[in-house]
């Protein structure tokens, strides 16, 4: 049981890290990014390839994964500079899907649909599996904490204020002399760095990556995490990551108590319950469990 809870903690931590990244892009800058899983994949593949094929140290691989995620984010932001709202959403969704298709066809690089197995994990050879689990949880918690603190700083810095200004009205921000495109690109790059890092952490945790992991469903989970936690709030992002994992895994333990359901119906019901839970949260907490604060947490407006 402990192992399971620890593994869920790692998953929740990774979801939270991605939600923090999404919060910079979507919550603060108001850019709809439905290609999250693509940047997650860039991070995962970068670190997996560097460590398995070139024998690079795991820490270096992870940093490279994060950087690659950020660079990919900046590129996508530049390409989509003129797109907003639904159009941006569609293009980013397409970006993630074309990345997945590329990963499954460029066999020479990514090993195609066979995936890359045997990705090393930090201290994996010297620790027992449960110790490794715990150590990894500690690592993920520390990284999420750092990401959270950085994102908080960002949110209340002048940079964060500009992002919110762009989110609320791009033209007004431009009229006020803010280089809107540069801010958007930076917001994308920063958010995608977190996504790339989450991908690298995932790869070294499970030791296996394959294109099938990077399906749009994962993007929706993260979106769900931020929606239920509170868009625009970093605390909400972290909480949301936890909530989604609790929804996803908690439903496993509910369905066995409904004896007249067969396993197939129970499996369908699980997915239904996850959706229903989200709907309930959003019906009664339209701005998420922890709404975006109107004020700086310390320096209150008088």
């Amino acid at each position: 049981m402990e192992n399971y809870l620890v593994a869920l903690g790692v998953t929740a931590g990774l979801y939270a890290l991605m939600a923090i990244g999404l919060n910079v892009i979507w919550g603060m800058a108001g850019l709809v990014n439905l290609g999250l899983v693509g940047f997650f994949a860039v991070g995962a593949y970068t670190s997996a390839l560097l460590t398995t094929k070139l024998g690079v140290a795991i820490g270096v691989g992870m940093v490279a994964g994060a950087v690659a995620g950020g660079v990919a984010g900046a590129l996508v932001a530049l390409i989509t500079a003129r797109l907003r709202g639904d159009y941006l959403a569609i293009v980013t969704l397409g970006f993630a899907e074309s990345l997945r298709t590329t990963a499954s066809n460029e066999t020479w690089l990514t090993n195609g649909t066979d995936g890359i197995s045997g990705i090393p994990g930090p201290w994996r050879s010297v620790l027992t599996p449960s110790e490794f689990n715990l150590a990894y949880l500690a690592l993920v918690v520390v990284i999420v904490l750092i990401a959270y603190l950085l994102a908080q700083r960002l949110s209340y810095s002048p940079f964060g204020r500009v992002l919110r200004a762009i989110r609320d009205d791009e033209q007004v921000a431009a009229v006020a002399g803010k280089p809107v495109l540069a801010f958007k690109v930076l917001a994308f790059a920063i958010g995608c760095t977190a996504l790339g890092l989450a991908g690298a952490l995932y790869a070294h945790y499970t030791s296996f990556v394959v294109p099938d992991i990077f399906v749009p469903l994962l993007t929706l989970y993260i979106k769900m995490a931020l929606l239920s936690g509170g868009v625009g709030n970093n605390r909400g992002a972290v909480l949301g990551g936890l909530v989604v994992v609790i929804f996803l895994e908690g439903t496993r333990f509910i369905t066995p108590y409904i004896p007249w359901l067969g396993a197939v119906q129970a499996a369908a019901l699980q997915q239904f319950l996850v959706t229903a839970a989200l709907l309930v949260v959003l019906r009664f907490r339209t701005r998420g469990l922890v709404p975006e604060p109107p004020d700086h947490p310390i320096l209150r407006r008088t």
């Binding site: 049981m1 402990e2 192992n3 399971y4 593994a7 869920l8 998953t11 298709t101 499954s104 066809n105 066999t107 195609g112 649909t113 066979d114 995936g115 197995s117 045997g118 599996p129 499970t206 030791s207 296996f208 394959v210 294109p211 099938d212 992991i213 399906v215 469903l217 994962l218 996803l248 895994e249 496993r252 396993a263 197939v264 129970a266 499996a267 369908a268 699980q270 997915q271």
Partner: protein
């Protein structure tokens, strides 16, 4: 008020409710059921095969339970859905391994899912049985905690090519869906065709989920093949068959039986499927194990997945009974001593258990094949069952 009177304190309530919660557990302990894990695709791309494999596993277990159970205990299952998605499957496997502490997980289907779940299994010394065919799976460092009853691509590719050559086809076109088996099968088919006086005139890999494959079909027909091998799944093979017909190709076609099920044949126009060969790994047609499985499942022709599921549960039951221990390591260490060797040949779990109970040795001959495993968990050899579509229905051709 005397102090001896019972008082409802927080402490006594806590103690009482703890006792109440523990009571059923203590009561259960006398006949603790033996809990095994099933992890199959109940939703997603494998949603057609997963539930049927699950039912087959349960049917064998029910038979074993009726005959007195395993180690004096009743078999029960914890069933999780792998959603045909590696990420979800890993979470589900973790739950089975860490919460339910199952000694064995049966039923992964997609190769990507199996490759993702396998590390969780071998690290926690849990046995894994699968139908995934990708060659890479048994090459993982699984320390023996994995067997698959599906012949790997190398074996399948060779047998398919031999059959195709035996029909007299000289120029073969091969269309494969993008999957782990695509490239290895293409290479193997090409080699074996060449050895048998035939040749591969065109091979290409296509993307899943397209509504038309006309350009792929045109490309293959450019090599003017006299046999087209469609190596995909039902949704895309159905489209391919239609597009081949529309493109005016009327030669024979060849595909896996899971890609052209009897249901698919019914739903497609007769002229589209007529003369298509299908193949599936199989036991000997006169194998008693196949007949047993058909009777057990109440189906006339159980398919490859159902028979494999029957074999997993049978092998696991026999291994646990022989090892007298229900752990993943015990199953790993014993499975080959009940699946192969000099023991009495048995064709069902219950027959094998009877012999083991008397102290005998068994060699389980399965419904999907002889179930003899190599050191890395592949099956050593396997028969293949060929059907052909005649007058809009799949008819039996031969078992080779």
């Amino acid at each position: 008020m005397s102090t001896a009177q019972f008082r409802l304190t927080r402490r006594s309530v806590l103690a009482g409710s703890a006792a109440a919660l523990a009571a059923p557990y203590i009561a259960r302990a006398q006949g603790v059921p033996l809990t095994l894990g099933i992890l199959t695709p109940l939703t997603g791309a494998g949603g057609y095969d997963g539930p049927r494999m699950m039912k087959a596993i349960q049917a064998v277990a029910a038979q074993v339970n009726d005959a007195g159970g395993l180690l004096g205990r009743k078999i029960t299952f914890v069933i999780e859905d792998d959603q045909t998605n590696p990420e979800a499957a890993v979470r589900a496997a973790r739950k089975l391994v860490d919460v339910d502490k199952v000694p064995v997980i049966m039923g992964t289907w997609a190769s990507a899912v199996t490759s993702a779940v396998a590390p969780v299994c071998w690290e926690s010394k849990t046995f894994l049985t699968t139908t995934s065919g990708a060659d890479t799976i048994t090459k993982l460092p699984h320390q023996g905690y994995l067997i698959r009853t599906q012949p790997n691509n190398y074996l399948q590719g060779a047998k398919h090519a031999e059959f195709i050559a035996s029909t007299g086809a000289k120029k073969v076109g091969l269309l494969s869906i993008q999957a782990p088996f695509a490239q290895p099968t293409q290479e193997r088919v090409k080699d074996v065709l060449a050895k048998n006086g035939s040749s591969l005139t065109g091979g290409l890999i296509y993307e899943p989920n397209k509504t038309s494959y006309r350009s792929e079909v045109d490309q293959i027909l450019r090599g003017s093949p006299d046999m087209v091998y469609l190596n995909g799944y039902t949704p895309d093979v159905s489209v391919l068959l239609r597009d081949l017909y529309r493109a005016g190709y009327d030669g024979p076609r060849f595909t896996q039986s899971y890609a052209l099920t009897s249901k698919a044949v019914e739903s497609l126009p007769k002229e589209v499927t007529e003369g298509t060969y299908t193949v599936q790994p199989s036991a000997d047609i006169d194998s008693p194990a196949y007949a047993n499985a058909a009777k057990l499942l109440g189906i006339k022709d159980p398919d490859s997945y159902e028979t494999q599921a029957v074999d997993w549960m049978s092998l696991v039951a026999l291994s646990i009974a022989k090892a007298k221990a229900a752990t993943g390591t015990a199953i790993r260490d014993t499975v080959r001593s009940v699946s192969q060797g000099a023991g009495t040949k048995v064709y069902s779990a219950v027959d094998g258990l009877t012999i083991l109970a008397k102290g005998g040795e068994v060699n389980y001959e399965g419904a999907s094949g002889p179930c003899d495993f190599t050191d890395i968990g592949d099956i050593q050899d396997c028969k293949f069952r060929y059907l052909v579509v005649k007058n809009g229905a799949l008819t039996f051709l031969k078992v080779v």
